[in-house]
Symmetry: C2
Subunit: 300 residues, 2 copies
DNA sequence: AAAAGCGGTGCGCAAATTGCACCGGCACTC
DNA sequence: GAGTGCCGGTGCAATTTGCGCACCGCTTTT
């Protein structure tokens, strides 16, 4: 696409931090690239880079331009998918930034179902913590985010919220396995494994124990991988914590899950959202609609 | 701006309806222009023009592209005004599509006040009926619309609504001039002048008389210019109808205005709005905010 | 003091773009 | 129904544009 070439080069320079480095990345001479940048600044009417002794850096005007470039690129992608849409086959690309818990069961199921109806649509799915997910939205790197308890909500437009009570996962022969519902203090009496404070599960547990004098979150093992934690329970007899959407509906391998009592621990909010005010590409918008349906069904 | 050149040419072709005509308008040979168009379609991956024996016309894909071009151009203009903004002086351009009634007093006052604070900001102000105003918003030809009772509201995002009871304008010595408030049937008994059905005033009057058997709108003179109608009353003793925002606060020249009783005629809605979901340029957004303040003050 | 990186510039050459002349096709006219 | 006027499209030569190379002046690093 001819008219995006300058933008491409500008992005390259931003990424590389210097014109010379960028020129190597992009198969062009530094002099030619330099002239492109200068010519662009000239036509644009404002400088967009600060010239430093060791390279270049965006100035405030450049930051604004960068945002425009990203937004423009995403608009153009949407245009293309709309055009492809009216020529028959539904094509397009959907990019999702989500919490880990969605990776093993929920999203594979949803995406495969969607792709069953629209085989032309491709996906990129990446695990991101709540801060990174929102940043990806603002940078147009992801269309859709699905995360627990996002922190800074300024650019995050919530499309659907769904309450997720924390479950504990343990062996089927664990003493707590018989309870319908587990009290927090009972759970914490047993040796357990927990994620770091980066994750909503841990934050909710800490919040809950803050008022509790008799118990404390005291994990024998901390990990950033829910997958690891869940599977670890098969080897050593520890309990772990997770949102139910991350669990298989019929857990095999001798593991069972039970909800923590909601009067002990506030349920987490799983929020589905997009960049505030953005018009999503057709494919992403449709997929989002189906996610809303599925998430609503889960709540009942 | 280099990267908008193709778009410029495409718009030219759309406007002219044929490549050859467009080539004359834009100082380029038909062959070169033709090749640009073909190359663009090639890179874009889809044809955007139907080739007809007498020229070319946009196909559906081209319609989508055209919308993208317009939106893109307006985004770029906003970017520039943002950049200009952070370099000190507030610059930019605000375009307003509005009903006639706003032209004589309200908008001049508002705009001059705004330009007093921001002399770098330029304006374009055009009278448009309610249908045309909304179309201009969707085509990014206007940033802001200020109209009475717009019809199709799909793309019109209402920012402020303000009720405007219809007033009648007459000579100071008119028999009705003494009333605080005029009943509709009293007013219609006198010879009057009224706008055509294109205008909200007339529509509201017709709606009101539909249930009234004793009176009818029966103008001796119909006009599309409120300015004409108001001034005509100085020569022949006719009454005319208008929204109060179109009237000077202290009417000179022997004319007075009195409101029609609201129980007879529903007040008109003066709606301030923009294209749904669009992010306005800084200058337009700020001007809009000031309009909201002024309109709110009028309501009290 | 030397070396290494950086952005920027002059110049010759290659590639992309343009203008010109012209083709075939369709519609309207006499 | 032949003639005429536009239309989009194409081959080719002229021209403009953009590129790579060599090199400059500068600052930081070693």
């Amino acid at each position: 696409m001819r008219h995006l070439k300058d933008f491409k080069f500008i992005e390259g320079v931003i990424r590389a931090g210097s014109i010379r480095k960028a020129s190597e990345d992009m198969n062009i001479t530094a002099s030619a690239l330099n002239r492109r940048i200068n010519r662009f600044e000239d036509e644009f009417g404002y400088e967009i880079f600060e010239r430093l002794p060791r390279g270049v850096r965006l100035n405030p005007a450049g930051e604004l331009l960068l945002h425009h470039i990203r937004s423009n690129r995403s608009d153009f992608a949407r245009l293309k998918s709309q055009v492809a849409d009216l020529s028959g086959v539904r094509r397009g690309h959907v990019s999702v930034a989500c919490s880990q818990a969605l990776l093993p069961y929920f999203l594979p199921r949803e995406i495969s179902r969607y792709r069953g109806e629209h085989p032309g649509v491709t996906f990129s799915v990446n695990a991101r913590d709540r801060v990174a997910a929102e940043r990806e939205l603002t940078e147009f790197a992801s269309d859709i985010a699905l995360v627990f308890e996002p922190l800074t909500m300024v650019d995050f437009e919530v499309v659907h919220a769904s309450a997720q009570p924390i479950h504990i996962i343990m062996r089927a022969d664990h003493p707590l396995a018989d309870c319908e519902e587990v009290r927090l203090r009972d759970a914490l009496r047993f040796p357990h494994i927990a994620p770091s404070e980066k994750f909503a599960v841990r934050v909710l547990l800490e919040n809950a124990t803050r008022t509790l004098t008799s118990a404390d979150v005291n994990p024998l093992i901390e990990s950033e991988s829910f997958d690891f934690m869940r599977h670890y329970g098969q080897w050593e007899d520890l309990i772990s914590f997770q949102f139910p959407i991350g669990l298989d509906l019929e857990p095999g391998a001798g593991l069972v899950s039970r909800p923590l009592a909601e009067r002990d621990v506030a349920p987490g909010s799983l929020l589905l959202g997009q960049l505030r005010g953005r018009t999503l590409p057709v494919a992403s918008a449709r997929f989002m609609r189906e996610l809303v349906v599925s998430l609503s069904a889960l709540d009942n």
